[in-house]
């Protein structure tokens, strides 16, 4: 079966399964390929050569590497933009479209930018459009529209796919399953080390799958089969194929992406056998469809059974080009000629075979230009010319007929991962390549990334690196294998395959459409350092991140500035090695939310839940539309009757031990040494800089036991701070964060005693026996409870803390017990109103990141004679400095004025002196009450100050002593 006009018969196409046809669409056209095809191979097989349009000039582009290393084949696949068509396998129904075109893919109006290319020099956007604000205003949207490649799927409002993550662990991780990596894995697994071998390909082998190592072309596949079998036989090697390692992070932390999963692999030692990346020759039209790397053509032929063209010219500077020529001939593709940059072509098995096949070898020649066919959709020929010197060509052009030009002029190590780990690279004057110089600990390089180019050398290098990695991970077996005698790196890479053309279109960077002269001109503009040139010209900043342009850019800068390549390096390679989907990085959303024991009861009662730190709390009970009625109603129930609020989220700390009181003395501003057992006392915490950070209540249940509450969002920090301080003080005290262990409610209102008494046998709740700020351990509805007569709301009330697993039962019991009184749950919003009527502050709402105890007007909470408390020394200093603001209670001078909103400003003239921190129209008092920072000179009751409210209007606040409601606090002490 031969789906496609350019499909070659078996045995070509090792990675496709001809028994299964798969149909998909490209630009609306139905295309048929085989299972195993990539989008690009299927398109080429069907004669669809142009796959994408270039970034700036919208030039037609096609396969360059066939290895996902370039951006010439970026396509839109359904909702996925910027998809590598030469990597992405086809699936039935896949909807593939071209990217970055205006009008239609075939008739892209954007291609006309090329006509004005002369007017768009390097960095043109810096050089113009700014003369007047009008000019930039007009041009910016146009330039902006031109930007970008693929399209995000904006119609969707959901995650497209299920992505997840998994941790992996290995003694040795081998990255790259080419010959060196395969051998490295086997060598590393010689003992009992657990080895993971990661490879991008559909099957292991790397270049063994497609390259030609000997004249008859069998050596690669035989070696591959042998190694593959050996690896499969090893129980301590796990193969992750079709997987790409995108980075190498601290302490051998490797992200590996396979299908919809991100693996995070921790290895004790790593072998990077990541191979090398073929490098282009720079000549005119070197970017057009039909010009590709020799290895790309070999991949098309051998892996996918696709004929890359009908008549080829091979530009070579190494033997691999000859191997490729033999592959072409085997596939029935005519080879017009070999142009070899080298003056002398070595005589060996491969070159001799090419000669024997009757192919003309034109030594000492480069390609000056590829001839573009109609619409530049395909090349129709090549102009070869004699190499005169470095980058210069002599007269004597020869036109060579072809629709395919293969480039085999050299490589650059795929050292990205090594770069991520901080490996230094040094330029090797003999091989004309950068090679890893100093490797960080636990990291080993093998194969062509490490300059071992000859197959035997790569195998030997892999054996050595695998053995070393295993030893590094603590697994020694046998003697250390020797390094390869001759790595075979010399003679594979040409030092200057760059032949600029007068008429341009000689691309150094395909991603960014940068021509030779763009780099030269950028250097002339003064950006004569590789990093600066990168930023100015954008060379290497495109989707392939300089995989094919970085080395050329360094060569060009070096020559232009007269700097030696030894003293230069390619620009820093940053992760990821290849683009990673947001979905892969995000994975499953792990966003813990804490729910109290009564959570479902609240939902059943129609509560609107709101986040409070990590927790969910009921804001109020009822529909959103009724909010403005519900909250005052909840307030009124508490004031007149009885209400129940879930306070489980309040922090709780058990502080126990002989030094418990001393510890609290140091942690809080007040004094606790003389606090009686069975009584509660306010706690206020400041940090060492004297800033108010938390508050709560300390209950003394035993001489050596305080139960301390903390704010919902503050308790974890408070707990951690307590442990930190005591790690230094070494007091004999134990602190336990028991927040989650206790569910809590506050039953509040004049009828709360009656309700509670009903379910609280054996405790005398009378005012005498259980006064305000009293506390006891008792049973409520049969549940062991810590009962405290405290509250935020200023009514008779009891806070009841019970084991969390019995919290729902407590709630049920109290709601049932209060039935006849009409008990009603109230939420955070009503509580905020109630507390404000009492003038209680909420730390972090009525205080901010700099509020001192003096500014908060809480001098009453500061013990003056203690030897020390955290923040005390700063508070002393602050006390000596004049206050700049003061927190006061206020009401409105004019009853008709609106209620200011929280954070409306307090002004003195035009100067900002403070802000409203809390304000509400009190349902109990039917007037506005609030707290605000005012200028200290306005801090006394009766003083008036300006508040700027919505619309810029100013209204007048009057400083008012609080509590606003029940100023004598009689109700809470009933």
């Amino acid at each position: 079966m031969m789906a496609g006009v350019n499909r070659l018969p078996a045995p070509f196409g090792a990675w496709i399964d001809r028994t299964e046809k798969i149909a998909f669409t490209f630009e609306g056209k139905e295309i048929e390929g085989f299972r195993g095809d990539t989008i690009a191979s299927a398109l080429l097989a069907n004669g669809q050569t142009m796959i994408s349009r270039s970034f700036k000039y919208h030039r037609p582009r096609s396969v360059l590497t066939m290895a996902g290393q370039d951006s010439n084949t970026l396509v839109q696949v359904g909702d996925e933009p910027n998809c590598l068509a030469d990597k992405r396998r086809i699936e039935p129904g896949l909807k593939v479209e071209g990217q970055n075109y205006v009008g239609s893919f075939e008739d892209d109006k954007g291609r006309f930018t090329e006509l004005v290319e002369r007017f768009l020099p390097v960095g043109f956007y810096y050089k113009s459009f700014h003369e007047q604000k009008t000019s930039w205003k007009a041009w910016e949207p146009i330039i902006r529209r031109m930007a970008g490649l693929g399209k995000a799927d904006l119609a969707a409002d959901f995650h497209h796919s299920y992505y997840d993550k998994q941790y992996l662990f290995a003694d040795v991780a081998v990255i790259g399953g080419g010959p060196a990596g395969m051998v490295a894995a086997l060598a590393a697994a010689g003992g009992s080390a657990e080895v993971i071998l990661i490879d991008e390909g559909a099957e292991l082998g790397g270049s063994l799958c497609y390259a030609r190592f000997n004249a008859d072309g069998t050596h690669g596949s035989l070696t591959r089969a042998e190694l593959d079998a050996a690896i499969r036989a090893k129980r301590n090697i796990r193969v992750l194929d079709g997987a790409v390692c995108t980075g190498l992070f601290s302490d051998n932390w490797l992200p590996v992406i396979k299908d919809n999963r991100l693996y995070k692999l921790r290895a004790k030692a790593i072998v990077a056998a990541t191979g090398s990346i073929e490098q282009p020759s720079v000549f005119r039209n070197n970017d057009l469809p039909g010009v590709m790397f020799a290895s790309a053509a070999q991949r098309l032929i051998r892996l996918y059974g696709v004929r890359p063209g009908h008549r080829a010219v091979v530009l070579a500077a190494n033997d691999d080009g000859y191997g490729a020529a033999l592959d072409l001939l085997d596939a029935g593709i005519a080879v017009t000629a070999m142009a070899d940059l080298r003056r002398e072509v070595p005589s060996n098995e491969l070159t001799r075979s090419v000669r024997r096949a009757g192919v003309e070898i034109i030594a000492g020649h480069a390609i000056r230009e590829a001839i573009a066919g109609p619409g530049k959709a395909r090349i129709t020929g090549a102009i070869a010319a004699p190499v005169a010197g470095e980058g210069t060509l002599a007269a004597g052009d020869r036109r060579l007929e072809c629709d395919l030009i293969l480039m085999a002029v050299g490589y650059s190590p795929a050292g990205q991962l090594l770069h991520h780990a901080g490996t230094r690279f040094a330029y090797d004057g003999a091989s004309h390549m950068y090679r890893p110089d100093a490797l960080p600990p636990h990291l080993f390089a093998a194969g062509s990334v490490n300059q071992a180019y000859a197959l035997d050398a790569a195998l030997a290098d892999g054996r050595r690196a695998g053995w070393l990695a295993a030893r590094d991970a603590g697994f020694s077996a046998g003697a250390e294998p020797p390094a390869p005698a001759d790595p075979g790196a010399v003679g594979v890479t040409h030092p200057w395959p760059i032949f600029p053309h007068d008429k341009g279109m000689d691309f150094v960077d395909f991603d960014e459409d940068l021509k030779y002269k763009d780099l030269i001109n950028g250097i002339a503009d003064g950006y004569d350092n590789v990093e600066l040139l990168k930023r100015y010209s954008t060379v290497g900043m495109g989707p392939s991140q300089g995989k094919h342009s970085a080395v050329a850019a360094v060569r060009i800068v070096a020559r232009e500035t007269g700097e030696s390549l030894d003293r230069m390096s390619v620009t820093t390679q940053r992760p990821p090695y290849t683009p990673e989907k947001f979905g892969h990085m995000a994975g499953r959303v792990f966003e813990p939310g804490r729910r109290t024991a009564m959570h479902h009861r609240h939902l059943e009662l129609g509560a609107q839940m709101m986040p409070a730190g990590m927790w969910w709390r009921p804001a109020y009970y009822g529909p959103k539309s009724e909010r403005d009625k519900t909250i005052p109603a909840e307030v009124t129930v508490v004031r007149n009757n009885v209400g129940l609020i879930d306070v489980s989220t309040l922090g709780g700390l058990d502080v126990r031990g002989p030094d418990a009181a001393e510890f609290l003395n140091r942690m809080y501003t007040f004094s606790y040494a003389k606090q009686q057992v069975g009584r509660c006392r306010y706690v206020l915490m400041t940090d060492n800089a004297g800033v108010v950070t938390d508050d709560g209540v300390a209950v003394r249940f035993h001489d050596e036991h305080f139960y301390v509450t903390a704010t919902t969002s503050g308790v974890d920090v408070v707990y951690r701070q307590m442990l930190w301080w005591n790690a230094q003080w070494r007091l004999d005290v134990d602190v336990a964060n028991v927040t989650a262990a206790y569910a809590g409610v506050n039953i509040a209102g004049p009828k709360s005693r009656a309700v509670l008494q009903r379910v609280c046998d054996g405790v005398d709740l009378s005012a005498q026996a259980f006064p305000y700020m009293g506390a006891a351990m008792a049973e409520v509805a049969g549940i062991p409870a810590r009962i405290m007569r405290v509250g935020f709301v200023g009514e008779l009330g009891y806070e009841i803390h019970v084991p969390a697993s019995q919290g729902e039962a407590l709630w049920d019991a109290l709601m049932a017990a209060g039935g006849q009184e009409g008990i009603r749950p109230f939420g955070v919003e009503a509580q905020r109103v109630l507390r404000l009527e009492k003038g209680h502050i909420i730390v972090s709402q009525d205080t901010d990141g700099l509020t001192s105890v003096w500014e908060a007007d809480m001098a009453w909470a500061v013990a003056k004679t203690k030897p020390f408390f955290v923040g005390g020394r700063s508070a002393e200093i602050q006390a000596k400095t004049p206050l700049t603001r003061k927190l006061v209670g206020f009401t409105m001078a004019n009853d008709a004025d609106p209620c200011p909103e929280e954070c409306h400003l307090v002004l003195k003239g035009e100067e900002i002196v403070g802000r409203v921190t809390s304000a509400v129209r009190s349902p109990s008092l039917n007037k506005v009450v609030g707290l605000a920072y005012v200028h200290p000179s306005d801090g006394e009751p009766g003083k008036q100050f300006d508040i700027k409210v919505a619309g810029g209007r100013r209204i007048i606040g009057v400083v008012t002593k609080h509590p606003f409601y029940d100023p004598e606090n009689k109700r809470q002490e009933m």
Binding site: S128, R144, F158, H160, G526, N529, E531, L532
Partner: protein
């Protein structure tokens, strides 16, 4: 009007046969032994300072010493957001002046810095964040800065792609909307200043680290470099990421911790996101650059480090949260990640002006906000150096404000402030 609309400056490039370079960064000269002013650091702030020293104060015998390449530190690594919607009046006035200078820079430089007004949204996901947003909006408005607290309907109208679901951990309850919020091409800002300063006489010396600071009787005399000793009447350091290290050479300590700040960009997409979106609770910010890349970052790293290494966990956290805001981006790809080093102060305001060493000035403590302050820092530090008196705009940012308990509390607005 019409001619001004045409990019006529490009015409010569097309019509001339030969490219006529506009040299932006002069060839390096020999290092002299004495200068009027030495500026340690060759980033945006240093270059801006040199520019304003020359332009506004006639001080042109200025030497900029850069240990790496020009503007290759945090100037090259930031995400290029410009805004003035701060919380403190001191901060607002300062950054508003910066924004005003930014607006005219392209014109001043005759070089397009690609300044682009996008509108800046700081999302609020909690009641507390809504309060802080209102606080900022009110302070901004009082000082003449265009900011407003807006609510979900309006947010949805202006940023239609944001997920407004209220069934998520961090529902969007409101936003501080700051229409003047902008982006610009960060490198171009530095290059413009470099050209401006050098054209007026300043010298830029790249690959020239400062290895010591000469101080006699509490007065700075010059600096040591591998290329020799350089004397100067006045010395300024503007070396974000190395601030404490250089200050230590001058013999004093600072209220600064140096912490990496990471960022990443996506593979370019056709423009769809016109606004700058910031979410404090989700530790995310994002804008789309003129190249079509989504430029994204979050809060600083969890611990201090003098390194620009990248981490995987940064990306995992960032993109997880990004998809909560923009769930449709799951198939979009990250192209590149990197890091800078942020000098964090306790109150998130800078430390600028005079130092314990006479004639030695400091421009530091930029945290995550250095880029947006570039022009105003240059202007105010130039004034400070020229007159040996802190410019009014930077007086609140003096070093001793900490021991004086007079901090400028910008922290409340800044769990992630870009």
């Amino acid at each position: 009007m019409v001619p001004a609309l045409l990019p006529y400056k490009l015409l010569p490039y097309g019509f001339r046969r030969k490219y006529r370079p506009q040299r932006f960064i002069p060839k390096q000269k020999d290092l002299k032994s004495t200068y009027d002013v030495v500026i340690i650091g060759g980033g945006g702030h240093a270059l801006a300072c040199a520019y304003y020293l020359a332009r506004d104060h006639g001080i042109t015998d200025v030497c900029i010493l850069e240990k790496g390449y020009l503007a290759g530190g945090n100037t090259a690594r930031n995400t290029a957001i410009i805004r003035s919607n701060y919380l403190t009046p001191e901060g607002v006035r300062f950054y508003e002046q910066s924004l005003k200078l930014y607006r005219d820079l392209s014109q001043d430089f005759d070089f397009n810095i690609l300044y682009s007004e996008r509108g800046h949204f700081t999302l609020a996901h909690t009641d507390a964040a809504v309060r802080t947003s209102r606080w900022r909006a009110e302070v901004n408005k009082q000082l003449g800065v265009d900011s407003e607290l807006i609510f979900p309907d309006e947010i949805h109208r202006l940023c239609p792609h944001l997920s407004m679901s209220d069934h998520v951990r961090y529902p969007i309850l409101g936003a501080l909307y700051h229409p003047p919020g902008s982006i610009a091409r960060h490198d171009a800002v530095a290059w413009g200043y470099a050209r401006g300063a050098t054209a007026l006489g300043a010298e830029v010396h790249q690959q020239t680290p400062v290895s010591g600071i000469l101080i006699e009787n509490g007065t700075v005399k010059g600096v040591e470099t591998p290329r020799g000793r350089v004397y100067a009447n006045k010395v300024m350091q503007a070396v974000a990421g190395s601030t404490s290290v250089v200050a230590k050479m001058a013999g004093f300590r600072l209220p600064i911790r140096t912490i990496p700040l990471q960022a990443c960009v996506s593979v370019p997409l056709k423009p769809f996101l016109d606004q700058i979106i910031v979410s404090g609770s989700l530790h995310v910010y994002v804008s789309q650059s003129s190249r079509g890349e989504l430029v994204m970052g979050g809060s600083t790293d969890p611990y201090g480090l003098y390194s620009t290494r990248s981490t995987l966990d940064f990306k995992e956290g960032l993109l997880g949260h990004m998809l909560e805001l923009l769930p449709m981006l799951g198939e979009v790809k990250i192209l590149r990640q990197w890091a800078g080093m942020a000098d964090m102060t306790p109150d998130f305001s800078p430390v600028m002006g005079l130092t314990p060493v006479k004639n030695y000035y400091i421009d530091s403590g930029w945290g995550t906000w250095g880029f947006k302050a570039t022009p105003v820092c240059g202007m105010t530090m130039a004034h400070t150096i020229a007159t040996d008196t802190p410019h009014d705009l930077i007086k609140p940012f003096y070093l001793d404000r900490f021991v004086d308990y007079a901090q400028v509390g910008e922290k409340g607005a800044a769990s992630v402030g870009h």
